[in-house]
């Protein structure tokens, strides 16, 4: 059974084809990575899947149901949650509150319950708090619970965004370049966290530049270039795929093999 299926998905911007007739499947289990040179259409692809952009043509199936053209909040409501390449935290809120926002879909309390603080609302709030603290512990940010989100380091902000997405208990989580701006040590910790997420049964689909992370973390890799899928397989398979090597050698990017991305945010 596939978690996510893309069928001939295309997105044009005027004359430019950002995603061109893309088809691939993401199995329920494990971590799938989409890699490709800059400008290959990876982020557009994520926007299409998560509902932020409607595709020009093609279909997107999530757990067998057609989600093509659904609004982002509806897509999230079905259990598909994304993170962003440029971290988008709620900076006025604390670290803990940010994760609590992630529980929105799994809580009910309305306006009157909030104002009257009914027993049901209080119980729900306690559950939200407990779950949020659990997730902060999971990503290692528990001590920062009461720090404003804007006061976190860049790496911590990325982890927080991930914890917030997990709070929504997605069946599929899309991670848009989660290692961007992380140092080697942070990146390694991130890799372990991603593996743990996949072990708990959440499907992970990530876009990544950091090849070390992809090679160590992903079970399957989809390689895209100029909006098209050029290869698909295990990390070992795509590493030696001639089309992949050509694409990377032909671009300004370094080859995917053993590239260690050590940019700092």
């Amino acid at each position: 059974m596939n978690r996510l299926v893309l069928q001939n998905v295309t997105r044009r911007f005027g004359g430019l084809v950002a995603v061109d007739d893309m088809s691939f499947s993401v199995p329920e289990a494990g971590v799938t990575a989409v890699i490709g040179p800059n400008g290959a259409g990876k982020t557009t692809l994520f926007s299409l899947i998560s509902g932020f952009l409607p595709p020009s043509s093609g279909r997107i199936l999530f757990d067998g149901a057609d989600i093509t053209g659904l609004a982002p909040e509806k897509v999230a409501g079905r259990g598909l949650v994304r993170t962003f390449q440029l971290v988008k935290l709620f900076e006025d809120l604390t670290t803990l509150e940010n994760v609590k926002v992630g529980r929105h879909l799994h809580t009910r309390s309305g306006l009157l319950a909030a104002l009257a603080r009914t027993p049901a609302a209080r119980r729900e709030e306690r559950e939200v708090e407990a779950r949020a603290l659990e997730l902060l512990t999971f990503v290692g940010l528990k001590l920062k619970a009461d720090t404003p989100a804007s006061g976190l380091s860049y790496g911590q902000q990325r982890l927080l965004e991930m914890a917030r997405a997990l709070a929504a208990e997605p069946r599929l989580v899309l991670l848009d370049e989660p290692a961007a701006g992380l140092n080697g040590e942070e990146s390694a910790a991130l890799s372990r966290i991603i593996r743990r997420i996949a072990e708990t049964g959440t499907t992970v689909l990530l876009i990544e530049h950091d090849m070390t992370l992809v090679m160590n973390t992903a079970d399957r890799v989809v390689v895209v270039d100029f909006g098209r899928k050029i290869a698909e397989g295990t990390p070992g398979e795509v590493r030696v795929d001639p089309a992949v090597i050509a694409a990377y050698l032909g671009s300004a990017e370094t080859a995917p093999i053993a590239r260690k991305d050590a940019r700092h945010g």
Binding site: E73, F84, F90, D92, L93, V139, Q156, A165, R192
Partner: protein, 324 residues
Amino acid sequence: MTSSLSITSPEAPRRSWLSWRVALPYGFVTAVVAYAAVAGGYPATVVSFALIYAVFVIGLNLFMGFANQVSFGQNAFAAIGGYTSAVLTATYGWEPLPAMAAGMLGAVAAACAIGYPTLRLKGHYLAMGTLAIGLIVYEITVEWQSVTQGYMGLSGIPPLGIGGYEITSDRGQLLMLAAVVAGATFLSARLRGSRIGRALSAVAGSEEAARALGIPVARYKLLAFLLSAALASLSGSLFVHVVGFVSPEVFGLHMVILTFTMLYVGGIGTIAGPVVGALIISLLPETFRGFKDYQDLAYGAALIVMLIYAPKGLSSLFSIRRRP
């Protein structure tokens, strides 16, 4: 801490130093209201007006502070509330409380009809659209003379009360208004800490991220707009019942500037800010005699100076929240 994945530095959160800063604004408000209640007479009247505006600004803060949206037209809803109260009581002999409730219903209904298309606007369009809404209602209050008496205004509006009992004394009105403001502040604090409040903060922080987490952004903006309109309407009704008179100028454009100044001075996005701002802005002119003619001028100038030199308002003294 059992996680082997921790990449945080071991630094415990510090909270205690915040407590006095949180308590300070409430102390200030309590002291001012208590002084006015003891002194009675003119001070009580001045503080009463401040509290009426505070109700409006608390509503403005829900929409602009919590949800980070823009409206230059909330005075429209104060006018709807105020005129509904005035017309129903003075012309049709209703009791003030049902008239007030009718005004709130009317304001919320209007906000619903207006908000749905308006809140899709962005930037300058949203600003000008909301400004237009305030002006449309102003023009209607001027032109619909058979009901509103135009510029002449309506008088003979009864004070608030239940059954045969009316609150007519300065002190009585002051305490009633203080209770309303305390209630509104309390509820806005509860809202802020709730699931709904967090969703509003999420909308304020990043609409995209909020939607990615399943928050229906448009619906929450509308909710904040409606709550804000309800409080604006309540404030308008309180005004007409306390003063006994209403005219279009009460809810004119100067009200927009005045309330924005209050919100900025007190601290946008904070809980106590609206009340603190309303009190400071209302009390300042009283310290200078003959200042009355220059009031709106001074508010406008003060607002400009604040926007230029202290964009975060005096809130930086009180607030633990930060605005970019």
